[in-house]
Symmetry: C2
Subunit: 115 residues, 2 copies
DNA sequence: TAAGGTTATTGCAATATAGCAATGTGTAAA
DNA sequence: TTTACACATTGCTATATTGCAATAACCTTA
């Protein structure tokens, strides 16, 4: 029926897919890159830099933040965005584990074949 | 207008986003997991295992293959799917580089701050 | 050639996503 | 209190994605 059937997949698989989805839009990659360069920057600056409107940028920021990859702090009249470094490390590990596990399976198959 | 504005982003950013998009659906993660366990398996088997219809499974397979993560071979009357290990390694590196670069930026900022 | 098995494609409906203008919300300074 | 600035939310349109039934295409083997 065109509805994504999340429930048939395992927790961990859904979790990885959700995090990949955050990275699946170039604007969100650009935003993460820019905040890395310019820790504590504002939505306005980000939107100018990536050349998308302020509302669009704000929405992307919410998506990234909901996934836990950003922190934000209100200072004066503006919201400052920071990378959530620990969470990024976790994410790095999750992706790495996925690839390593997949590679390992290949190697096991190959080893079994040569016996 | 609701059209994704790829052109405003750099090549490498678009490339990473495209690859993340492949992993952004749980069915595709499950498929990669399963093919890892069962190298050379058939669309029919995969579709039974992940409990999605054969057409749906076939479409996901095309998406993954188009990104270069799968190889396939016709043997007899059936198509056998294999992981493209080299390409997976490249992908692993791409993601890793992204995270490492992002982390490094944070560290540089921190170092500059303490000076 | 016909029959059977496997995969790809097509066509459709339901839902999700991306983008922006307009508007609301909240804070700081005048 | 008013003004000004920054951000979030709402409402909308255009497009993309997900899923399956039906069907086509393809390759074996009888």
């Amino acid at each position: 029926m065109g509805v994504s059937k999340r429930h048939i997949h395992s927790m961990s698989v859904n979790q990885l897919a959700d995090l990949a989805k955050v990275l699946s839009h170039p604007a969100r990659i650009s935003i993460l890159n820019y905040i890395g360069d310019c820790d504590g920057c504002l939505c306005k600056d980000i939107s100018q830099h990536i050349r998308l409107s302020q509302p669009t940028t704000s929405q992307h920021l919410q998506v990234i933040k909901k996934a836990g990859l950003l922190k934000s702090k209100f200072e004066g009249k503006s919201q400052h965005y920071y990378l959530h470094k620990d969470r990024l490390s976790t994410l790095k590990e999750l992706f790495n584990n996925f690839f390593v596990a997949t590679e390992k399976k290949c190697d096991l198959k190959k080893a079994t074949k040569t016996i």
